[in-house]
């Protein structure tokens, strides 16, 4: 399963361009979509789920063109977990999944089998009789993930599934996504860099409706190698001066002053040393270059 996006543009009625002539190829496996809030990630996902029609450009899913006539065929291949979804609060977990499975057109017996399987996988089996409104945020998100998988989609789209979750729950969701990416394409959108670092090999960075980078995680971090510096300054005043000149990604009080993490093409004129770039550094470096 692969997705091809060519010259995609989405312009809203209020003239806001959410996606601006974007090109992207999403291969099999788990693919990360990284970008700040408002970068256009959700809009892209809404196009891919056929909720939104693009203003311009072309999208294909395994060679099937996104067009009115093909929507039904495409929709059958997709599972979707939107950023914020409130599943039926008065239904139990089991009822909610059976109901959504039925709407998705999954035969009853098969649906029950799949619910059992995925509830076990997501450690929700003992909560199946609980009402949706009684679940914690993380559990609700896991149920949301199960509903997206009920039709055994070839292309799973998850929009910021870890937002607002505690670290343990975030790790759990991340691991589940990796498990579920076997033999399918998973598009994992987030603005949390460490979520992608822990799950994906391939990613794209979105910024103001454009793709600033698309490729492997390794190549991305390599782009920023030699451009990340740890500098030490004696006081806050000096730190502010450095901030005026360079992009600072972290600031920390240490013995004898402040330690700054600086992104710079050349070595800053300070007491500093070069350090290996992390994915977060690389992300900031790439977006910074664009600006």
């Amino acid at each position: 399963m692969s997705i091809h996006i060519e010259d995609l543009t989405v312009r809203f009625k209020n003239s806001v361009t959410a996606i601006d002539h974007a090109d992207l190829d999403i291969p099999n496996g788990i693919f990360g979509l990284l970008g700040e809030n408002g970068a256009g990630k959700t809009t892209l996902m809404r196009v891919l789920t056929t909720v939104l029609k693009p203003t311009n450009g072309m999208v294909t899913l395994d060679g099937i063109l996104y067009s009115e006539g093909n929507y039904e065929k495409i929709q059958r291949k997709i599972g979707y977990l939107p950023q914020e979804i409130e599943l039926y609060p008065n239904l139990t977990v089991q009822e909610c999944l059976e109901y959504m499975g039925d709407l998705a057109g999954v035969p009853k017996a098969e649906c029950r089998k799949r619910i059992d399987y995925y509830l076990k996988k997501t450690s929700l089996i003992e909560h199946r009789k609980k009402k949706m409104k009684q679940l914690s945020g993380g559990m609700k998100r896991r149920v949301g993930l199960v509903q997206a998988l009920l039709n055994e989609p070839e292309f799973l789209i998850v929009d910021e599934p870890t937002t607002g979750l505690d670290p343990e729950e975030r790790i759990r969701i991340r691991n589940l996504l990796v498990d579920f990416s076997e033999n399918r394409t998973v598009l994992f959108s987030t603005h949390v860099v460490e979520d992608l670092a822990a799950t994906c090999n391939q990613l794209a960075i979105m910024h103001k409706g454009r793709f600033l980078y698309a490729g492997s995680m390794k190549n991305l971090t390599e782009e920023a190698q030699g451009k990340i510096w740890i500098c030490k300054v004696p006081d806050e005043r000096k730190a502010r001066e450095v901030e005026q000149k360079y992009r600072i990604t972290s600031k920390q009080y240490v013995e004898g002053g402040l330690q700054l993490r600086v992104i710079s093409e050349i070595q800053p004129e300070l007491e500093c040393m070069s350090i290996p770039a992390t994915l977060e550094d690389a992300y900031i470096y790439v977006t910074n270059q664009y600006e």
């Binding site: 789920t49 929709q75 979804i85 059976e98 998705a104 057109g105």
Partner: protein, 219 residues
């Protein structure tokens, strides 16, 4: 069906609908039994509009509609119709209860022109069935078009005010949506009020037929 019931009949909706009917039967004075029907019909129209306005819009506000876009339209329409039927049946049972409560609280007497209490009840029942059918579909459709429950309720209320008024009666006559309530209750031979109810059925059916298109465009 059981799941749809749980979705569209949460406790708070049942509670306010029952309270509405009990309060109505306590405060709305009727002297003769033939007044019960016209005391019930207009308030039930507005209760139905409020009750059914969130039938589908709850899917939009909860973002579930984004997932449902991936489902077959047939399944989605079937689900909406099932929900409207469940709510309609509940409201109809409530209307029957209300009819009985009027007898209990107001102790009305039979007017000499009333030929049969049973026939009077059946006529009222028929009119209420159409009222619930029409206002339920109307409120749901308007809410879907505006993608907002309150706009659906508000616009239904405007139509209610326009038709449930002396002006509306004069303008539409027997074709008024509330023709049953505005009929000449002492002239039992006059059945022209059926035109208004027939119109309600026709509009309701048209809105039902338009539902797939509305779900595709606005759902």
């Amino acid at each position: 069906m059981k799941k749809e019931m749980k979705i569209v009949l949460p406790f708070y909706k049942i509670a306010y609908a029952v309270s509405f009917v009990v309060i109505l039967s306590v405060i709305r004075a009727v002297v003769f039994t033939y007044e019960i029907g016209l005391s019930i019909e207009p308030p039930f129209a507005i209760l139905t509009a409020v009750f059914c306005a969130d039938t589908y819009v709850q899917e939009i506000t909860s973002n579930r509609s984004e997932v449902q876009r991936l489902y077959q339209i047939k399944k989605r329409i079937y689900s909406i119709i099932q929900r409207l039927m469940i709510q309609g049946t509940f409201l109809l049972l409530l209307a029957v209860l209300g009819y009985g409560l009027f007898f209990a609280f107001q102790k009305p007497i039979t007017h000499p022109v009333t030929e049969s209490e049973i026939l009077q009840f059946i006529t009222c029942f028929g009119a209420i069935v159409v009222t619930i059918f029409f206002w339920g579909i109307l409120a749901n459709t308007l809410s879907m078009l505006f993608r907002n429950m309150w706009m659906g309720i508000g616009s239904s209320l405007l139509i209610w005010v326009a038709t449930n008024s002396t002006g509306g009666d004069k303008l539409f006559g027997a074709w008024n949506l509330f023709s049953y309530s505005f009929r000449d209750i002492e002239n039992t031979a006059d059945i022209t009020w059926l035109y208004g109810k027939g119109l309600c059925i026709c509009i309701g059916l048209i809105l039902l037929l338009a539902l797939p298109k509305i779900v595709r465009k606005r759902g």
